[in-house]
């Protein structure tokens, strides 16, 4: 079936929905999502959305900007970060006005709490900047935005899986999608397409990310010749539930929780004497792994999958039940403990992709390091790289990013489609997608996809994780190349058309493999340590050589690497200590 819309939005998380609200004001817009919108991963965000409202103590956007830039280890594009923090304030008020039920101060204002890396007066001490709705801020954002889409009658194509993009030269003309209910292939012709498909933590074994976080847009675009930016920077959140990866929000530490090693010592005293447990995530994840390697993990066997304790008992039962009720629930359900009474066993969990589809500050996708763009192609949210998070994102800054840059991209699309024309759409537009699916149904079944997925996740976890070395990454690349080849023999056994979830999962696995490959290659390429990219063989940050974004082009087995300048117009890079 063929459809025509001026604007297509792929993804119904925070970024996609906000863009849809904005674009649909004037443009004929449709949202395509492989999940029901309310099932999107934005709903799991817990801790809060950062904005310098100054509701409980003095705060300023420029402090927020500085923290964001320093937190990103100076790989953050500084003007983009400035826009982020300035527009954050208005964005949070706007969300409240739309109905978002923020937690309140005693005067009835939006309440704010501490979060890692957010400080007053350029690093002096932690500041209360995170606006929150208990520990389900993302749930409330997703609900509120979806409710507004209902109110404004935005058109949705639920459970449509986008598997190809139509790019002609440097112009995007639409997408190809499969409808889960029928297996039918649809082409959507459009003047502008926004990709907002979220993260890809599923390349790792231990992750806070959903089954659906499979990097579909980055993979589809990479195969279509679009470069990916800063793929080497993947954030490990220090506190995932041991063995499961389920996130325990930083807000637990914001409210007073601390990390303890097996001797009962506050381990962060050694690694970040000023900010302690509220230091940025990259630092804390490294501190935990270092402690574990020293034998100070709880088991003490120095194995990489050992864990430490997050002690929330000192927060007190009342505050936990009021401000962190879901966290308490997770602990009860999955660990059988009450966090007010017992410490929570935690380990770093793969959490957030700083890298992704390169865009400018209007959400337009970049075609090279020189600033030229694809016409009619946009990206926002976690799958995009603007770059406001640089080499390491601060907590609460992703939700801001969704709202601020989701809105900017939506508005820019609406403006653009007014003057743009539909591109040409050959009858064979969906041919590639059909061929790909047919191939998955025909021929002899070779490898098991379960086995391939597990191996990929383990290789990435062990060799392209918190600490990295050139040697290990080289092996990871070889291994991933091999399993990408094996993937060619994977077949879908369920030959049915309706609700073929197996087909979907195989297509997602293909995307993950491409993303894992790009991540490993980009990581091996960067011979320095910066933010979340920590190399044992190159332990220092090297601004002379590496103060630049990397771009990587996928070309089947091969790849090409290029670079893009970092905007450092506001703050000169300095040593990053906390």
């Amino acid at each position: 079936m063929k459809h025509h819309y001026e604007a297509i939005i792929v993804g119904a998380g925070g970024a996609g929905l906000y863009a849809a609200l904005e674009a649909s004001k004037t443009a004929k817009t449709a949202v395509l999502s492989k999940l029901y919108p309310v099932r999107s991963h934005t709903g799991t965000a817990q801790g809060g959305i950062g904005a310098a409202l100054g509701n409980v103590e003095e705060d300023r956007p420029e402090w927020h900007a500085f923290d964001t830039i320093k937190g990103g280890d100076y790989l953050t594009d500084q003007k983009a970060a400035q826009i982020l923090v300035e527009e954050a304030v208005e964005a949070v008020y706007h969300l409240e006005n739309l109905g978002l039920p923020f937690s309140r101060t005693s005067e009835g204002k939006i309440d704010q709490r501490r979060f890692g890396g957010h400080t007053r007066n350029f690093g002096e001490a932690p500041v209360r900047r995170s606006c929150y709705a208990a520990d389900r801020t993302g749930h409330m954002i997703l609900q509120t935005l979806y409710q507004q889409c209902i109110k404004n009658k935005v058109a949705f194509f639920d459970e449509f899986f986008v598997l190809d993009v139509l790019i002609d030269g440097k112009k995007c003309n639409g997408v190809v999608a499969m409808e889960l209910a029928t297996g039918e292939i649809h082409t959507f012709q459009s003047k502008a397409v926004l990709f907002a498909t979220g993260g890809f933590g599923r390349i790792y074994r231990i992750t806070s990310n959903a089954y659906a976080s499979t990097g579909d847009a980055p993979a589809v675009l990479a195969r279509a010749g679009v470069p990916m930016e800063d793929m080497e920077f993947f954030q490990f959140h220090p506190t995932g539930i041991y063995g499961m990866g389920i996130l325990i929000t930083e807000a637990v530490r914001g409210e007073g929780g601390v990390l303890l090693n097996r001797n009962g010592d506050r381990l962060m005293e050694e690694y970040a004497p000023a900010l302690l447990d509220l230091a940025p995530r990259d630092l804390i994840s490294r501190a935990i792994i270092t402690e574990i390697k020293k034998g100070n993990g709880i088991r003490g066997d120095k194995k990489i999958d050992d864990y430490v304790y997050l002690d929330a008992t000192r927060i007190g039962k009342e505050v936990i039940e009021k401000k962190l009720p879901d966290i308490a629930g997770f602990c009860r359900t999955y660990l059988g403990i009450d966090p007010a009474e017992k410490p929570i066993p935690v380990q770093p969990t793969a959490h957030y992709a700083m890298g992704g589809i390169p865009t400018d500050i209007m959400g337009r996708v970049l075609a090279s390091g020189g600033g030229d763009i694809y016409e009619g192609l946009y990206a926002a949210g976690e799958c995009a790289c603007i770059s406001v998070h640089g080499a390491n994102r601060l907590g609460t800054n992703s939700l801001v990013d969704l709202i601020v840059y989701g809105r900017r991209a939506g508005a820019e699309m609406a403006r653009f489609v007014k003057e743009a024309d539909f591109g040409s759409m050959p009858a064979s537009a969906d041919e590639q997608a059909r061929k790909k699916i047919n191939a998955l149904f025909t021929g002899k079944k070779g490898k098991s996809r379960g086995d391939i997925a597990t191996r990929m996740q383990e290789i990435m976890m062990e060799k392209v994780g918190v600490f990295r070395t050139g040697e290990e990454m080289k092996r990871a690349i070889t291994d991933i190349r091999r399993i990408r080849e094996e993937f060619n023999d994977v077949r879908v056994e369920d030959t049915g058309k309706r609700f073929n979830t197996e087909l979907l999962e195989v297509l997602e696995l293909e995307n993950l493999l491409d993303i894992a490959y790009l991540t490993a290659v980009a990581a091996k390429n960067r011979t320095e340590t910066r933010g979340a990219h920590s190399r044992m063989d190159f332990p220092e940050r090297d601004d002379k050589k590496w103060l630049k974004h990397s771009l990587i082009w996928l070309d089947g087995e091969k790849y090409k690497i290029g670079y893009r300048d970092v905007d450092i117009s506001l703050y000169k890079p300095k040593a990053r200590t906390y």
Partner: protein, 239 residues
């Protein structure tokens, strides 16, 4: 431990009617039932249809009937539903909604009832560029209802919908109306009244409390329904 999953299968394309299929597999007592189901999907039978995403009880994708009771598969540990004697865990799709395939049901009507109650803040007064003031007490009045993840477990468990009146808008729709009716910033009672005060609105509820028992978010669903009934009565008296 060894477990047996007894799963209801149905694929319109080839089956005349639903049937049960058993799968034996190894699982840890602390594994989620969702982990076990995904192990079936990836290792034993890829054609088993189910929805899932977050895997920790927040997205509402995987409500199903487990040993006869509505639960989220990702919030159910094996040890909660199996004993050591390898008794089978039965897994069926939600009730009151047409089965699409295996454990997937068509939630079309469920979402229709949600949309029908106008689940968005209704307030046209200007907000002055800052937040609308709301005290913590006012905020706490509707806190419970904000937790809903639209999983449809309550809808499936409702004896009224099951046996008497399939046109009842159901517990979740009322909870989501209550979410706004009790929000001090909302002005939407009048607009929502035609749906809520309808004979298929709040009134068919008979206080069976099944919804409250199965809600994976521990929402006091029945209480929210009763509060809404009372609010409507008060409003009608005042008019």
């Amino acid at each position: 431990m060894k477990i047996t999953l007894k799963i209801q299968r149905f694929n319109k394309e080839k089956d005349e009617k639903p049937y049960f299929q058993e799968f034996e597999l190894e699982a840890e007592p602390t594994d989620r039932l969702l982990d076990a189901l995904m192990s079936v999907v990836t290792n034993l039978d890829g054609s088993l249809g189910l929805r899932k995403s977050c895997a920790h009880g927040i997205c509402g994708s995987d409500a199903m009937v487990i040993n006869g009771i509505e639960r989220l598969a990702c919030k159910t540990l094996i040890k909660d539903v199996a004993d050591d004697n390898n008794s089978a865990i039965t897994v069926e799709p939600l009730r009151c909604m047409p089965v699409q395939k295996d454990l997937m049901v068509d939630q079309g009507r469920f979402f229709e009832t949600y949309r029908a109650v106008k689940p968005f803040l209704i307030n046209e007064e200007p907000a002055d560029g800052k937040e609308r003031i709301q005290t913590p007490e006012e905020r706490s009045r509707f806190d419970d209802a904000t937790k809903c993840i639209l999983c449809a477990a309550c809808y499936s468990s409702c004896p009224v919908i099951q046996e008497k009146n399939p046109a009842f808008i159901g517990p979740a729709a009322v909870v989501n109306a209550a979410r706004f009716l009790f929000d001090s910033r909302d002005r939407g009672m009048e607009e929502r009244l035609p749906v809520l005060n309808d004979e298929n609105g709040v009134w068919p509820c008979e206080n069976h409390f099944n919804c409250t028992r199965v809600c994976p978010r521990d929402i006091k669903v029945t209480k929210n329904i009763n509060l809404t009934k009372r609010e409507i009565k008060n409003y009608n008296v005042q008019q």
